[in-house]
Amino acid sequence: MRLERHLAVLRANLRLSFLLAMQYRWEFLLDGAMSLLWTAAAIVPLYLVFEERPRIAGWTYGEALLVMGWFTLLDGLLKGAINPSLVTVIEQIRTGTLDFVLLKPADAQFLVSTARFKPWRLLALGASIAIFVYAFSLLGTGPTWGGVAQALAMLAAGIVVLYSVWILVISVAFRAVRIDNLRYLFEAVFEAGRWPSTVFKGVLSFVFTFVIPLALMTTYPAEALLGTLPWERFAAAWAGALVFAAVARGVWLRSIGSYTSASS
């Protein structure tokens, strides 16, 4: 019964998002096209530097492209499925209409995080597959089935982490609405996920592995595809992702408990 209700809400929200996308279809299509263009543009620097060096921080051009592929996919998910809802919630917190959401007989976190989608952004999915095909054609091999399975499982962990980070950002917004431009900050930092994590040294390496685990999101799945991701690291990454999710849920419940809407 509970599950059924939530599935129905998800379906209704997807329908609404699609209707909205159709209303401003040129804007959204342009948006999608721009993001594809960006993906292509982002490969240029990679191409340029590998022209000069066969191997950078232990990665060849083809291997680094795999990281780029996962980044493109997650970036599409972030901007197509996670970000739009976040923008909606922050607007609702600002105007006090979040009260309506909290009065609905369904899990508030679920309602909040499925509120809006940008369907055109899913074009990124196609782009990332194209990058994978191109990368493997350069490498002259293909991934093993085991590698694909491990990479997808790794991707799921990456999505869990990405989503948890966003829930944390919303929880901050409950306390200080003006923090909403934190999301731009995170988007800027997220860009670092384009490169294999071995590029980063010292403090940045620590931050991108443990604090904002970008390595887990893009580099590990790429290594899984290549068959070089050890299972211990895989397990540790999943454990970390679950901890992240639990913390995010805890913080969310606390913030919602102490939430009193903006214009009481």
Binding site: E27, L30, M34, L37, W38, A41, V44, P45, L48, V49, E51, E52, R53, I56, A57, R178, I179, N181, L182, Y184, L185, E187, A188, V189, E191, A192, W195, T198, V199, F200, K201, L204
Partner: protein, 264 residues
């Protein structure tokens, strides 16, 4: 004359409002750290040998200088204008006996003290981590720096105000800003120094305005240009300032006539 007399007051208003939004300002500044996030990649590339004359230290000097230049010359007038056209606030502005362009210009310039204050730590770090061999040594070059930075600001400002004027015709011109920004990211030397571009692509940025907004002031400060080269680039930069200035004024005059006729 009258406009000149009101300028100090406008500057003061701009400065105080920048101060009021200091938290937003800081987050916005941190979002422009993308070039710094690119830096580890370039370091990895230049680990064994310099790339197109760029050693690791030179890359550091380039991207830190770039970060500071960006802080000083950044613009967002087109967003303000789009918002004001849609909300009708522009009509209020038009009631005043000062051309709106002056208002947007003072607002942008008045925030420079605050932005300099934020950029200062970056400059200190840059000086500490690089040696002075990566900076210009000729006093004549340093004399050109303020002019070049002001020119860089002016190009960005006029482009933004011109695009903002387009919103008097279109529903909104934010997408046009995004296209302009895409051109900037690729051809200004923001993500990749132009010197590192492949040879066939190296001369084309010289024919676009973007390089004069970013790459040129950096090259000037980091001593990559001879006095003769710098003078030529400075001339080209101010040609762009002139062209864009004329286009901007023409667009606004036509746009405002239209706005007056249709009431927006």
């Amino acid at each position: 004359m009258r406009t000149l007399r009101t300028l100090p007051a406008l500057f003061k208003v701009g400065f105080v409002s920048a101060l009021a939004y200091r938290a937003e300002f800081l987050v916005w500044m941190l979002t422009s750290t993308l070039p710094l996030i690119m830096l580890p990649l370039w370091h990895a590339v230049a680990e064994q040998a310099p790339l197109a004359g760029f050693s690791q230290g030179r890359f550091t000097a380039y991207f830190f200088t770039g970060f500071i230049v960006r802080q000083l010359v950044g613009n967002w007038a087109s967003w303000t204008i789009n918002y004001e056209v849609r909300s009708g606030a522009l009509s209020q502005r038009l009631l005043r006996p000062i051309h709106p362009i002056w208002f947007y210009a003072t607002e942008s310039l008045a925030s420079i003290p605050l932005r300099s204050a934020f950029a200062f730590p970056a400059a200190v770090i840059a000086l500490l981590v690089t040696d002075t061999s990566n900076l210009a040594h000729d006093a004549r070059l340093w004399a050109m720096v303020p002019v070049a930075i002001f020119g860089a600001w002016a190009i960005g400002f006029f482009a933004h105000v011109a695009i903002g004027a387009l919103s008097l015709w279109m529903h909104q011109s934010i997408k046009v800003v995004e296209i302009w920004s895409a051109g900037f990211f690729v051809f200004s030397g923001y993500l990749v120094p132009i010197a590192v571009f492949p040879r066939w692509l190296q001369s084309s940025p010289h024919w676009m305005p973007f390089e004069y907004m970013h790459g040129f002031p950096i090259d000037l400060i980091t001593g990559a240009l001879s006095v003769e080269q710098a003078t030529r680039s400075l001339g080209a930069q101010w040609c762009w300032v002139g062209i864009l200035g004329l286009v901007t004024v023409a667009l606004w005059d036509r746009g405002l006539r239209r706005y007056g006729a249709f009431g927006g």
